[in-house]
């Protein structure tokens, strides 16, 4: 396919997906928590734009609602909460030393390639754009997972978790023009509750191990040390 032949909406979606993917990469390599959170907020914003764009061009009103929800949750509420936590823990100064960062980045890139490879069989089922969008969202999911694997801070884990959600959401929007309303609402509700729970958990973890480093939480294991 060549991008000229596509209509404006498609071009927009494609560029959006490219940006979303980019943000994921930025997060993956990010050592400073505050910037991490900021990039996450940006990703949320991109999602909101994509959603409203889709809502506009497919005039599918219920997507507006999900756009609003996304904005409220992923751009405002969660970043704000995390930001507060980080300041409270005053971890905003220290940089997490990521082990062999380049390797992580490379594997991230290869994950992106892999997700294209995986979704190849779907090509003939639909237009190329779907493939791209799906591939991007899949890679966002995988990158989110990578983020959690490579970072040790609980905050980073939350961000990773939420960016996985983003990836799913993006897939839902671009590939299928949004899930049924009831499902959307349910998902949003879950995300909300999850966010709140994370807040509670930071409290507990801090009181119990007085840090948010998940590597310190390994009392329950099966290896005799």
């Amino acid at each position: 396919m060549n991008i000229e032949s596509q209509d404006f909406y498609t071009q927009a979606i494609l560029s959006m997906s490219a940006l979303v993917g980019l943000t994921s990469f930025l997060m993956l390599g990010q050592g400073r928590l505050l910037r991490l959170i900021f990039v996450f907020a940006v990703q949320g914003l991109l999602l909101t734009l994509t959603t409203s764009l889709a809502a506009y061009s497919l005039d599918n009103p219920h997507l507006y609602i999900s756009a609003v929800l996304t904005f409220a949750l992923k751009v405002v509420f969660i970043p704000w909460m995390l930001h507060k936590q980080v300041l409270a823990m005053n971890m905003h100064r220290d940089v997490e030393a990521l082990k062999n960062n380049t390797a992580v980045m490379l594997s991230g890139a290869s994950l992106m390639v892999f997700s294209y490879y995986v979704l190849q069989p779907i090509i003939h089922t639909s237009s190329m754009i779907m493939l791209n969008a799906l591939a991007v969202s899949l890679s966002v999911v995988l990158l989110g997972l990578m983020l959690m694997i490579s970072h040790r801070q609980a905050v980073a884990h939350v961000v990773g978790f939420m960016s996985i959600e983003n990836g799913l959401f993006f897939a839902a929007i671009v590939a299928t023009n949004g899930m049924p309303m009831v499902v959307e609402l349910g998902v949003a509700f879950d995300v909300l509750v999850a966010a709140i729970l994370f807040g509670i958990f930071f409290l507990h973890i801090r009181t119990s191990i007085d840090s948010l480093d998940v590597d310190l939480m390994n009392k329950l294991h099966e290896v005799d040390k």
């Binding site: 899949l138 839902a172 049924p180 499902v183 939480m217 099966e222």
Partner: protein, 486 residues
């Protein structure tokens, strides 16, 4: 159909009500009552289904067929008996000051929340809602796992939350792919309704569904506790309050497996290959063997039995994956007896832990001498779960073995090996705990063992003679799932 709405509303109401009054003294009995009522409702539901056959609600939002109806009743039943046990248990925990009012409120309202999620998973016809409520179940129980606020419990809860969250997210991706595949054959309005999808299963795009199934299997498989995605399970089971462990082991795992099987039916319809089955068989077998080995290394009694849960879920996954009428029937039966027996065991384990004040098996001794009912309960329960007749577990394992022998003879030695290892792993720990002299200063406690007796009684009944209505349901479900009659 009203039954379903009543059921959901009741537990929803329960959430709010207990959130306010959860700290009252006799609240446990009230919780019991509510669960009792929902049990009655489900029985009513079961009877109607028994008379009318499959029910599809208006708007196709809910679907009750022979596959999920008995699971619904089972869920309500286990929920009820566990609440019977949890009342005195929680009271005792409050006495010894392990719990505050606030947490009791949380506990009781989340108990209902969990039940609500379970009912929703089972009754809904919408794969999306199924996902939502499955996630909801996690959210409801995650705070209960960390109820005691010990570092371990918080760690366990965190792992539970993150791992299940990530897993379930992958399931959502699978669901989206499903929806995507469905929306291509038009009718995107209710393209997530299982009934619709099942009708048009053959038209769905096999390639997409294969990929989708991978995500779904890993997603829900995390909840089932398939190795190597199982790591949250023993932690969560061992650190939370025992009634929670009982329902987690008895219900949550079952429902996750239920979700996987529902999806498998779609995928099989689409692909017409056995790929999904092979994946499930592989996962099941690995989980079965690995968990059996893990049993030997346990020091904590609740961890022990959570591993045995993994083992049995592995067996069921294997059986479902094998397909075929006999295997499916066996798997359905095994689902039932396993959740009956396992929750019964957790009840006795809870009492044992309260008697001795610890979960370390090295410090639990002489239960039979201390409190015969508890000791015998634990021993008989273990005998049952280890697959000794005349308990139902034996029947199902026997059938699984014969089915395997029939279709994949070379896998039977592995299964037998697993069963043998698992048995040894259980008994080498259980025996010293129940037998032997009573340690100094170890005294009996106020315990309610009716649930145990009832559960084991049912397991015994199922082992000796499966009642006709149940066997009818099983055979219909078998017909539905495996596409071939017995």
């Amino acid at each position: 159909m009203i039954a379903v709405y009543l059921l959901l509303l009741l537990s929803a109401a329960g959430i709010i009500f207990f959130a306010l009054t959860g700290h009252k003294d006799d609240i446990g009995t009230l919780n019991t009552r509510i669960n009792g009522v929902s049990l009655l409702i489900t029985i009513w539901l079961a009877i109607t289904v028994f008379n009318q056959g499959t029910i599809l609600s208006g708007g196709k939002a809910f679907l009750i067929d022979s596959f999920n109806v008995y699971l619904i009743v089972l869920t309500a039943f286990v929920g009820f008996t566990t609440s019977l046990f949890s009342a005195p248990y929680m009271a005792h925990e409050k006495e010894i000051g392990k719990l505050t009012d606030k947490r009791l409120k949380l506990y009781y309202s989340m108990y209902q929340g969990f039940m609500l999620a379970m009912y929703l998973v089972l009754t809904t016809n919408n794969m999306g809602i199924m996902w939502v409520s499955m996630e909801g179940a996690t959210l409801a129980t995650v705070l209960l796992v960390s109820l005691y606020r010990t570092p371990e419990s918080i760690e366990a809860a965190w792992k539970y939350f993150i791992l299940c969250g990530v897993g379930i997210a992958q399931a959502l991706f699978g669901t989206i792919l499903l929806y995507y595949a469905a929306s291509q054959i038009g009718d995107s309005g209710n393209a997530l309704l299982w009934s619709v999808l099942h009708e048009h299963a053959t038209q769905l795009n096999p390639d997409i569904l294969e990929i989708a199934f991978v995500f779904l299997l890993i997603g829900y498989g995390t909840k089932i506790g398939l190795v190597p995605l199982h790591n949250w399970l023993p932690d969560a089971h061992s650190e939370g309050p025992t009634p929670m462990s009982a329902v987690l082991s008895g219900l949550l795992l079952n429902d996750a497996l239920y979700a996987v099987v529902r999806n498998k039916m779609l995928v099989d319809g689409a692909t017409q290959t056995h790929i999904a089955g092979y994946l499930m068989m592989g996962f099941g077998l690995v989980s079965f063997l690995v968990a059996a080995l893990f049993l030997h290394r346990q020091k904590d009694i609740k961890r022990l039995f959570s591993y045995s849960s993994i083992e049995h879920m592995g067996l069921m996954t294997f059986a479902f994956g094998m397909g075929g009428a006999l295997a499916t029937f066996a798997a359905l039966l095994h689902m039932t007896v396993h959740s009956l027996v396992k929750s019964a065991i957790f009840v006795t384990v809870g009492h044992a832990a309260q008697i001795t004040g610890t979960q370390k098996m090295s410090q639990i001794r002489g239960l039979i001498k201390t409190q015969p009912k508890v000791g015998w309960g634990l021993l008989i329960g273990t005998v049952a779960i280890a697959g000794f007749p005349p308990f139902g577990v034996f029947t199902s394992e026997f059938l699984v073995l014969l089915a395997t022998m029939h279709s994949y003879p070379w896998l039977t030695p592995l299964l037998l090996l697993g069963i043998g290892i698992a048995f040894a792993g259980l008994f080498r720990h259980i025996q010293p705990m129940v037998f032997g002299e009573k340690p100094e200063g170890q005294n009996a406690i106020k315990a309610n063992l009716i649930p145990v007796m009832v559960h084991l009684g049912f397991a015994l009944w199922l082992g000796l003679a499966i009642p006709s209505f149940l066997s009818d349901w099983f055979s219909q479900a078998t017909q539905l799932i495996s596409g071939s009659a017995l």
